[in-house]
Symmetry: C2
Amino acid sequence: MKKKNQIISLILLLVAGLCTAQTSSEVVEDFKPSTLNQPQKEYPQVNSQGYARFKIEAPEAQSVVVSLGLGGTKGGTPLTKVEDGTWMGTTAGPMDEGFHYYHVTIDGGVFNDPGALNYYGSVRWESGIEIPAHDQDFYALKDVPHGKVQQILFPSPSTKTSRRAFVYTPPGYDKNQSERYPVLYLQHGWGEDETAWSNQGHANLIMDNLIAEGKIKPFIIVMTYGMTNEVKFGGLRNFDITPFQTVLVDELIPYVDSNFRTLDDQAHRAMAGLSMGGMETKTITLNKPEVFSHYALLSGGVYAPEDLKDHSNLKLVFISCGSKERPDGVKNAVVALKDAGYNAVSYVSEGTAHEFQTWRRSLHELAPLLFKK
Amino acid sequence: MKKKNQIISLILLLVAGLCTAQTSSEVVEDFKPSTLNQPQKEYPQVNSQGYARFKIEAPEAQSVVVSLGLGGTKGGTPLTKVEDGTWMGTTAGPMDEGFHYYHVTIDGGVFNDPGALNYYGSVRWESGIEIPAHDQDFYALKDVPHGKVQQILFPSPSTKTSRRAFVYTPPGYDKNQSERYPVLYLQHGWGEDETAWSNQGHANLIMDNLIAEGKIKPFIIVMTYGMTNEVKFGGLRNFDITPFQTVLVDELIPYVDSNFRTLDDQAHRAMAGLSMGGMETKTITLNKPEVFSHYALLSGGVYAPEDLKDHSNLKLVFISCGSKERPDGVKNAVVALKDAGYNAVSYVSEGTAHEFQTWRRSLHELAPLLFKK
């Protein structure tokens, strides 16, 4: 028995040695603070391979687990206590490029990382981390003319309150007083709100950069809160579109058309949404073909040709998702739409899943296709 | 000895009984979720007397302390573990009316309350709680015409980046294309940023309501980040105003004047700031008398008459603070300014300290005095 134990020990040592060797040769020690950290915060950090490293101060905690992780670490990345009373840990592998939500579980309670900025997702303000993407240039803050993101409070008789929306107006909007602009209504996903497309999505920077490069004709983007039903976990099945459709079509659109210099006809109005916002886009565009002429679903389902048979003034259908979602479903749906004679375009974001990098790229692909005719 | 111990025990029991009786007769059990809670979150709560009650889930934590508190609980309000694995506690007394920052220390680490929205203060995003104020109507969201809060990104050659500011434009700004407006440059305090006056201060709602009541002539408010020096704790003594003064006077003001319909002369430009923003206001207005005509310091120091002797086009000096700060200093300074012939006004916010309720009220008092001549 003793010999057998010795052999097992030897094997374990060899395996441990291999694992260590593998890890140390794999993880490049060039970690830098995430670009989404709060001012002056050193952690979380990201390396050139996309590994994320966390450091949380909680000297007397029993356990600290970060929800972000992959591969071998189901349930996130457990942190280990280091000598100075802080907890540290690195994801078991590289994360997908782009933005990720996460939180920290301290002794069984869910909190945010004090080092990171917060972003509204999962019906709470979550910590955010940015894994630098190879194509991050298209949403970078550059020295180009910048549009404005405006908060408006529009009257909503149907919900008996003033509701908030953010409106992106392109550079030059205030100076070109004779010019009128088309409008894209752009919806967030489940658990997010009207801040998501600017904060996580950089929709304004994507537009500023595309306009500066001369790749699109400027248009306005309007982003409002789409969860008028206060949907809770699992409640999507019972989702009733009517309250939000009323807010969007009967309240917000007339407000925007009377307070901004819009081209206020169906030909110059688009609707797009990500995830649950795609579901809303599909339902509302099918209910209201007289309101929108350009439809876009970002990781949010597909249209079948028969859905669109009465949509004679439809100008564009755009359907996208990440390559780690169901790209074949998106591609096949667009092939069917094209075969039926529709102007349909598919886009698959390489190497990304149901997350914001997919949707940033989707907006970047969609914008040049809008309002071309 | 035994008898003496018995007597002491009896006294202790009596004291304990008195304390308990006092507490239970004092704290009214009408707690409601704070209006600044994240959607669907029940805690933190506030009662009609201004007590705050916290509930934090952290089943295996050793200690949970909320930084908000007063009176007997130095260092905040310690929470007690209750049967279901959560921690609860109530402040030892009523809190001042209005907005308060706080955080939660879990096992020695500083986190935010997952129930509350976050606000940027103390150079971090902190939890926020709102103690309903008797005068909260003046910053309530009402069914009146609303202005817009716009995010702008303006070029800043001196700091080699695009910098962010928020611009409040009053209701009707977009429709009254021939009208030009005066501008108030309004600064946040130490550790805060350009989001503070809208998020914590409700500057936009204060303006919307004053305009709806016909109490002020509409003007524009511009709010930008004033901590260009990356001031750290204790660093205010070495604060150099030059970088921020350059950003404000040489970069932001020209940008605002060329991108908004402003009255772009000294007579129609005001500067105000709270706390450190008051210090900045004082320094910059004294350095640049040709740029501003209305000066306001909110819990941010005072002017002496001799400071202003070369300010021939000065129209108004406004100085305020909370009654729990140094109200006599503010009142005496204004008496001296008046005696010297200046149009000076003091304001003391009753029952508040160095906190946002003081500054909301100060803006509400200041706004009707601006740009009257």
